[in-house]
């Protein structure tokens, strides 16, 4: 006989009541965790997708569309700029590397990105290493050779050596006429945890040749990935192109920040919702632990009548409240992460934007706050029970 045994017996004696208490706490925590992870995950997912693109250059127009085209492989591609602009950029002393991208075709809805093989040498930063690494096969070396993104290969089941034909546009419409040229898969990329996992990379010459008879400007590119020589050079480059009438140069990370600031109200609403949900979770914890303690009032009075001291009563009630709350919190955190993983997977399938599912500081604070609330609300009724006259509850 001991405190732990009494607590265990109490919990197991009313399994449904204990389960409901745990589930109610778990539901509140799961909601709060999900909202926190979503708020953080969307931000970090978009920022992470933009990381390989320090600067993007393209035709004058909407910077958002340029970023959507190049970074996220979304939206209708903007009109082309001349390949000569790529060469101008390469000659610029502020530029460390400039790689062109041409979009406009797809295979079964997966976007084809025409580029140059230097892209396989592109190092984001010394810590991250090369952005694109070959998992199987090799990089393209000639027109109509293709390298598949990891997820694209997984989803289509395509292998090195397979051949395919692309269609014009961003989606493959039923009955749409494809290009005549056949592509051959020569390599498959390792996952990059971003939209390019769902892309098909090929030599930009392929795009030019496939579109040769379509009346489009020869040797045009949609955008240019630019790696500046340094931070100061990046700012200098931005300044050089600020008044350019044909082209724009943008920092995708800044565009994303601006996008978030435009959506500031929506983010604020999400923040308010997350605070409200956290508050709700705390109220649920308070109510559940208090309710459970109130249900034990009669047992507390019996135990006092047969000799339990205040310390024992408080210990039993505190441990019982904490145990149920902690099980609820653990289940809630697990459920919150599970729901987030499911949503993140859905988003990844649709956009290939990867929302990282790590533990956040806010989540840690939430768990701490909830456990503290559980401790307080387990202690208060237990202490109150000791101040009551035992006879009142017998």
């Amino acid at each position: 006989m001991g405190i732990i045994k009494i607590v265990r017996r109490n919990i197991m004696f009313k399994p449904l009541q204990s389960l409901i208490a745990c589930l109610v706490v778990a539901a509140g925590i799961a909601m709060a965790v999900l909202v926190l992870l979503l708020a953080d995950g969307v931000h970090s997912g978009l920022s992470s997708a933009a990381e390989p693109f320090p600067i993007v250059a393209g035709t004058k127009g909407s910077p958002n569309q340029l970023v959507l085209n190049t970074v996220f492989l979304k939206d209708t591609p903007m009109s082309n700029i001349s390949y000569a602009e790529v060469e101008k950029l390469r000659a610029n002393k502020n530029v460390g590397m400039a790689v062109p991208f041409g979009y406009g075709d797809n295979y079964r809805g997966f976007r084809m990105a025409g580029t140059e093989k230097e892209i396989f040498d592109y190092v984001i930063n010394p810590q991250r290493g090369k952005w694109l690494q070959i998992a199987e096969g090799r990089a393209f070396e000639a027109p109509f050779e293709a390298v598949l993104g990891a997820r694209m290969a997984q989803m289509t089941g395509m292998k090195v050596g397979d051949t395919f034909k692309t269609s014009h546009g961003m989606v493959e419409l039923p009955g749409s006429k494809g290009h005549a040229q056949e592509y051959k898969v020569v390599g498959i990329l390792q996952p990059v945890n971003g939209p390019y996992d769902q892309s098909i990379l090929t030599d930009i010459q392929s795009i030019w040749q496939a579109h040769a008879g379509h009346g489009e400007a020869a040797h045009g590119v949609t955008s240019v990935l630019v790696k500046p020589s340094g931070y100061a050079q990046a700012l200098a480059l931005l300044s050089q192109y600020r008044n350019n009438k044909e082209m724009q140069v943008v920092f995708p990370s800044q565009i994303i920040i601006e996008l978030f600031s435009v959506m500031g109200d929506a983010e604020k609403v999400l923040q308010i919702i997350s605070y409200a949900v956290i508050l709700l979770a705390l109220i649920i914890i308070a109510f559940t632990t208090y309710w459970a303690a109130a249900m034990r009032r009669h047992d507390n009075a019996i135990m006092r009548a047969i000799g339990a001291g205040q310390k024992e009563i408080i210990k039993i009630n505190f441990l019982q409240g904490m145990l149920l709350s902690c099980i609820g919190v653990a289940a809630g955190v697990a459920a919150g992460h599970g729901a987030f993983a499911a949503l993140a997977n859905l988003l990844r399938q649709k956009t290939a934007v990867n929302m990282a599912a790590g533990f956040t500081m806010q989540e840690g604070l939430l768990v701490l706050a909830v456990v503290l609330a559980a401790a307080v609300f387990s202690f208060i009724p237990a202490a109150a029970a000791c101040r009551r006259q035992a006879a009142d509850d017998l």
Partner: protein, 227 residues
């Protein structure tokens, strides 16, 4: 003298706002090992008086002494400890903890009093055997008959060999046969351990078995007698 009660009373406020006295004991004394009967109909104030003696309820006035030490004005914490060491209580409503088995209910009282668990287990086993419940030590109270539950409650009340045992209508919900068994058990165990006993009942027939009795009506002691 083990117990001395001086003009102890309890007043409560009715929902209507009226203040009424629900129990009033002018003077009452009990020697160590003595046995006393409180008789009176339901609502006469017997339970309130026993609760006040056990320190489960504070009196509105008067004084209660136990072995010469005043106990009615003790702080709750001190009173809990005093109760654990000195008092055994058999409740009218049995009040067994539903989540614990018969044996665990009994051992719980010993655990709170800080007793040696091996010794308590041995004693609980002996007592359960004596009351015919050795085979039901692992049964939850809900699966026991009322008579069996009452016997478990009696064993729980005596497991610590208390100085004073308070039994509140212990036979109220029992048939005649079980009443006789429980009453005999209570009195026998108290005699063996030198435990003083105050037993309340509405059954006038029990009077003959006790040396001393008090009649209570409307919260006040009406008469006092000896056999």
């Amino acid at each position: 003298m083990l117990l001395e009660i001086k003009n102890v009373f309890k007043k409560v406020t009715e929902p209507s706002g009226e203040v009424i006295t629900i129990s009033h004991a002018d003077n009452l004394t009990l020697d160590a090992g003595g046995q006393m009967l409180l008789t009176g109909s339901s609502g006469s104030g017997k339970t309130t008086l026993l609760h006040m003696i056990a320190g489960l309820l504070s009196p509105s006035g008067g004084e209660i002494y136990f072995n010469g030490k005043r106990i009615d004005n003790m702080p709750e914490r001190e009173r809990d400890l005093w109760r654990a060491r000195n008092i055994g209580y058999v409740f009218q409503k049995l009040n067994l903890i539903e989540a614990l088995t018969a044996e665990e209910n009994i051992l719980l009282a010993g655990y709170f009093a800080g007793g040696d668990m091996a010794e308590l287990k041995r004693r609980a086993h002996d007592l359960l055997e004596r009351v015919g419940l050795a085979g039901k030590k692992d049964v939850l109270p809900g699966k026991l008959s009322i008579g069996e539950q009452q016997r478990v409650a009696v064993v729980r009340a005596v497991i610590n060999k208390p100085v004073l045992l308070l039994a509140d209508e212990p036979t109220a919900s029992l048939d005649a046969e079980n009443s006789r068994i429980v009453l005999g058990l209570l009195r026998g165990l108290c005699s063996e351990n030198g435990t003083a006993l105050i037993l309340s009942t509405h059954d006038e027939g029990v009077k003959q078995q006790f040396d001393e009795w008090f009649d209570i009506k409307g919260g006040r002691f009406l008469s006092h007698g000896h056999n």
